[in-house]
């Protein structure tokens, strides 16, 4: 096509060689540079460069208002002996594993429910997604009020039902606070998992189920041998995203507990903010943030290789 176009102006039968500029103008690679330029500029200036800078900062003792000098692994050695850092690593892993697992189970269950035939199906499906639409911080504020130590509606209801005799201190007790934060995260994540899995479920032809039923398959067998295998690739992608976003979560915890009580809910991201921005020790904060990278890389690698294997098994070469 490009050759067609370059020769188009050459109407005269005489040998016409387009100028260098004319050839350059229709060169794909040259055009592509200009098309890619705006996106590349943003991503290099504000993503790739800060990513590198962050790793560099983690090797310096930079503070707010003062450029740092190279201190080698000092920040990491400091963190290695810091029990609060290890607590935050533990919290982050606990938060990610528990919340992701429950989000997956409830999300899949909800997707299966929504996939069934019922009145007002479309409206119910749209309503389900609302927790995901509303900004996390704003719904976290609602949870903050629901978890209030004095006026919690949950405590009030349980007292009225006679199940407990005093208010539950949702955000004041270490384990209660962890549970409460995890619940809020699940609450927000379930709609995402459910709606994306539902999109996968809708591609499963009902005739497969009819055939399986005629062959005497039970409910569980239909799920295990039809639904689950067809859904596997989507599950892999959805759960990768879910794990990544849960692992790097910041706003929910910051709005609810700010890492308290006594650091019991500090995630790596919130600890990094606490040390880097509030205390002003940018180098140390950057080191905590950099320490998250291996975990993220591991999660991405697992799902990447999982998908490659599936591709190889099914022999699909689609693009």
């Amino acid at each position: 096509m490009t050759t067609l176009q370059t020769s188009a102006p050459a109407q005269a039968p005489t040998a016409y060689t387009p100028s260098l500029w004319a050839r350059l103008k229709v060169n794909r690679n040259w055009m592509a540079v200009w098309f890619m330029l705006p996106a590349a500029a943003f991503l290099i200036l504000f993503l790739a460069y800060p990513l590198g800078l962050g790793v560099w900062m983690s090797f310096t003792d930079e503070r707010i208002g003062r450029t740092g000098v190279f201190v080698g692994l000092e920040n990491y050695q400091w963190l290695w002996d810091d029990s609060i850092f290890w607590l935050s690593v533990f919290n982050t892993l606990l938060y990610t594993i528990v919340a992701s697992a429950i989000k997956f189970v409830i999300g899949l269950y909800l997707a299966l429910l929504l996939n069934r035939h019922m009145p007002f199906k479309a409206i119910i499906r749209s309503i389900v997604l609302i927790p995901f639409i509303v900004p996390t911080v704003l719904s976290a504020i609602a949870f903050w009020w629901i978890y209030d130590s004095q006026f919690s509606i949950i405590s009030w209801s349980l007292i009225k039902m006679g199940l407990i005799d005093h208010n539950i201190n949702f955000l004041g007790d270490a384990n209660m606070a962890r549970g409460s934060v995890i619940f809020a995260n699940i609450w927000r994540g379930v709609p995402f998992v459910a709606i994306t899995l539902l999109a996968g479920l809708q591609t499963v032809s009902p005739s497969l189920y009819e055939a399986a039923t005629l062959d005497g398959a039970t409910n569980w067998q239909r799920f295990r041998f039809i639904t689950y295998p067809i859904l596997t690739p989507i599950i892999a992608v959805v759960m990768t995203f879910s794990v990544l976003f849960t692992f790097t979560d910041f706003q929910l915890v910051w709005a609810l507990t700010r890492g308290g009580p006594v650091n019991a809910t500090h995630l790596m991201a919130t600890l990094s903010y606490q040390r880097g921005i509030i205390s002003g020790r940018l180098g140390e904060g950057a080191a905590i943030a950099t320490a998250m990278i291996p975990f993220l890389a591991a999660a991405i690698a697992i799902s990447w290789f999982g998908m490659q294997r599936r591709k190889w098994q099914q022999g699909s070469n689609n693009d």
């Binding site: 993503l47 006026f151 689609n318």
Partner: protein, 302 residues
């Protein structure tokens, strides 16, 4: 990239979506227990925080803290005191405006950049196009929580600290990877023959993009726009780090920082703030549910 087969099957499946399948075999009591009851419970849990948010924002103060005399699940004399206090005695309108300004600015910039990038990757097929596509996908996986500290010093160096402009420039790093992938999917569905015809008729690449590809990809553009807009509205950590002075804040940051004064009567205005901050997105969502869902599932499927 991976699930082309799924996508091509989707229209066929959605056609028989409304068929009953085998559901006529189920008796009503069974459906009640296995479908309606669990669904009802999940919906109640999902929606209760919003009910509570709305209820608290119109409750008079004395009803908020006296749970013996008044049933907390209902309101006796609703009041708009909290909402009017929020709108007329605080800088809330200013924060709303900031959020809107940042979201519209960042989204517009990102969509423009993404359209160009997606077109180049899908249709110009330049050397290394596939590698660039994969790189952009990885950019989507880089979370803000590991970038905010170095970005804070970059923003400081550019002299943009405490300015909403800093957010307009930084948010595209979250939005461009997502929108580019979404639009790549849409552009692939546009028949290549259309472009060939235009090329033979002497159209430039720019004309093809603006007169053929973009008009045909409008649903994709709407999806990308809505989703990006929601992401901007939701973003918290960059806004918290880069914006210092009260009038420059966005709604999520201001809510968390400006209302927390230890006053037990703060809850009414806090909930009103959360409610008013959520409404624009919920209204937008109500109008574009389909686009929103296709953006979300499209990004995952690619």
């Amino acid at each position: 990239m991976t699930d082309h087969a799924l996508q091509t099957k989707a229209p066929a499946a959605s056609q028989n979506d409304d068929s009953d399948g085998m559901s006529y075999l189920e008796s009503l009591p069974r459906r009640l227990v296995t479908l309606y009851l669990p669904l009802f419970i999940i919906l109640v849990v999902l929606l209760f925080p919003f009910y509570w948010m709305g209820l608290t924002s119109i409750k008079p103060d004395e009803q908020l803290i006296d749970m013996e005399k008044y049933n907390p699940f209902w309101v006796v004399h609703p009041t708009f005191k909290h909402i009017s206090k929020l709108l007329f005695e605080t800088q809330y309108p200013r924060w709303l405006w900031n959020t809107m300004y940042v979201a519209v600015g960042a989204t517009t910039l990102s969509i423009a950049a993404s359209v160009l990038a997606a077109y180049a990757i899908v249709r110009l097929r330049f050397k290394g196009a596939e590698a660039v596509g994969v790189l952009i996908f990885f950019a989507y996986l880089v979370p803000p929580s590991i970038l905010f500290i170095p970005l804070a010093s970059v923003i400081q160096a550019y002299g943009l600290f405490d300015s909403p402009l800093s957010l307009i420039l930084v948010y595209p790093t979250l939005l461009i990877p997502f929108s580019t992938w979404l639009l790549m999917g849409y552009f692939k569905t546009i028949p290549y023959e259309l472009e060939e015809c235009a090329l033979i008729d002497g159209a430039s690449r720019w004309q093809i993009l603006t007169k053929i590809v973009v008009p045909l990809a409008v649903p994709g553009l709407i999806s990308a726009f809505i989703f990006s807009f929601t992401l901007c509205w939701n973003e918290f950590i960059y806004a918290l780090t880069f914006l210092q002075s009260t009038p420059n804040k966005t709604v999520p940051v201001a809510i968390v920082n400006e209302f927390v004064d230890g006053d037990i009567y703060k809850w009414g205005s806090l909930m009103a703030g959360a409610l008013v901050g959520s409404l624009p997105l919920v209204i937008l969502y109500a109008f574009f549910v389909e686009h929103y869902v296709s953006a979300m599932t499209g990004a995952v499927k690619e």
